[in-house]
Symmetry: C2
């Protein structure tokens, strides 16, 4: 049973941790690799999973992005050649998303930055609780 003041405390802590890390992450990924945090996370989720193609919907379920945000994020990634969209034959409303070679490469590069930022800005702060 968490008391209310403690709850607010926990929220503030979460808020500042998140913003600290997200801020640096966003800047670093953008500057060094031309990627939004959302773009990186999307790539990351596309790659971490075994199957080659994933439907928008599955992707959305894994993520914090809204459906519309995901749609646009994938559109940007495709425009940048990092991802490919293809029709789903079984259900022609569906869209499959797959990572291109360039996408794999860019993600691999960006991952280093990602880890570094996490180590620097998440590693030092105490895990809440």
């Amino acid at each position: 049973m968490t008391s209310e003041p403690a709850l607010v405390e926990r929220w503030r802590s979460l808020l500042s941790s998140y913003n600290e890390v997200a801020g640096h992450l966003e800047r670093a990924l953008q500057e060094t690799h031309g990627l939004t945090m959302g773009e990186f996370e999307t790539l990351d989720r596309l790659i971490t999973v075994t199957c080659e193609k994933r439907r928008m919907q599955e992707l959305a379920a894994d993520m914090y992005l809204s459906q519309s945000a995901l749609s646009r994020t994938v559109a940007r990634l495709e425009k940048g050649g990092l991802v490919r969209r293809s029709l789903c034959e079984d259900d022609r409303r569906g869209i499959f998303v797959s990572v291109t070679e360039e996408g794999l490469q860019r993600h691999a590069d960006a991952r280093a930055t990602h880890r570094a930022i996490l180590a620097e800005h998440l590693g030092t702060s105490a895990p809440a609780g």
Copy 2:
């Protein structure tokens, strides 16, 4: 010494906790009280502190918002009559911000919603770590 995979794990957990809570909070505060999360947090910080007036700069230091975002947030709050801006006589570059009666009231109302959302969406999830 946190291992790298664990770090990423921790980040993803932070990311989803944050977005879960922030999403619901934003919606609830907007719908019920016409307040942005940033606006509420700003009011909250203005009120939690002992002194009556606070300078933008001090406020900014407490918060995750950028200087420009804070400036606009305060402008919105003022436009809504929840906050008042006044010149700082000692240093006329500075701006003091103080909460109006209406601001106090609105904050008091919103606080209930805030706590409720936290209890619902932060209370159940295990504190990371």
